[in-house]
Symmetry: C2
Subunit: 192 residues, 2 copies
Amino acid sequence: MGRPKKFDPEKAVEQAAETFRVHGYAETSPQSLADSLGIGKGSLYHAFGSKHELFLKSLERYTDTQLADLKAVMDEGRPIRERVRELLTGFVEADLNDPDRCGCLVVNTAVELRASDEPAVKLLGRSFEATESVLHLAFIAAQHAGEIDADRDPKALAGLVQSSMIGLRVLVKTTSDRDRLGSIIDAAVAAI
Amino acid sequence: MGRPKKFDPEKAVEQAAETFRVHGYAETSPQSLADSLGIGKGSLYHAFGSKHELFLKSLERYTDTQLADLKAVMDEGRPIRERVRELLTGFVEADLNDPDRCGCLVVNTAVELRASDEPAVKLLGRSFEATESVLHLAFIAAQHAGEIDADRDPKALAGLVQSSMIGLRVLVKTTSDRDRLGSIIDAAVAAI
DNA sequence: AGAGTATTTGACCTTGAGGTACAAAATTCA
DNA sequence: TGAATTTTGTACCTCAAGGTCAAATACTCT
């Protein structure tokens, strides 16, 4: 009972994640957040408590979505190198298509955040681990399928692909050189 | 002539770079900047014009220093893989030894920055290119020395090492797992 | 010493961040 | 219909960011 909510909290968290991704945590004001959700600032605080609490919820939702997307790509029935290439190319192309180069909320937050923000650091740590785990499992499977040499360390490969992916998403913030980025992807795929 | 400066502008820019590295651009206030330089806020504005101008100078100095450090390591007369390992390990260890995981000003700025900040984006772009170039040249030399297969693309390898390096410095913000980070370094070195 | 020049400082200004308070509005239940 | 409950939105609060300014200070040159 009581007055019905004007907005869908789920959608709001999703929209907030996008706002944080585009403008960053520090540069997103409660007012702009409220505006982007189409509600008053008071309602926002009533519903979410604080900017930081809303941010944590947004970040969590974002990591969930991202992980699902990653799994979707890695679950495709194609050669492992094709899937990894698709993954890296997808991120790079997405970033290049955005003139503001906003990039990935997880990467952005990992850098912008203070180490003292423990809940956020934990969320990010879990997200990075989950990503690595998906890659790790895919590489193990690929080894069993004979696509990757059995003497390679699948976990280390997962870490290498992950760190290259993150590095690419940072590099793309200051360059639009598709050849250069593409050759990095080539090298990453070749390293598997 | 005129009243002599109370501080050394060179040292001040260096100190400012460190403050920006530790706290980030947005989170560094003119007041704290002035405090860290041991001067009044007015003096700071008189000497540097604005927070942003000081930031650009700081960033430029930082990139110069960083590039010199990189060259120093890559100029050592040791096997290429040892040098690359030393490079990556050095950054990771430095970051791990800092409880606040402040990391690298260039990486941090590339992420925190708005794409609309053209002078900063240019500086960062040049810095990333210069870094890649040093690695590129080192790999070419290593190929001539027979340390790296001649059929590898040295520029792509440079890009891969660079992006892994950046990725590692982001990952280390949320993890302290030396084994995991170490195995990523192993994989990166093995990929050369 | 005095003129001229450069630097220093704290006081002051405007703007907006992050958040609170409260009365009005919209619903359900009896 | 009225009571209870919940959400809404504006007005308001405090604090600090980023920056400006004028007066005081410290130097050089003549």
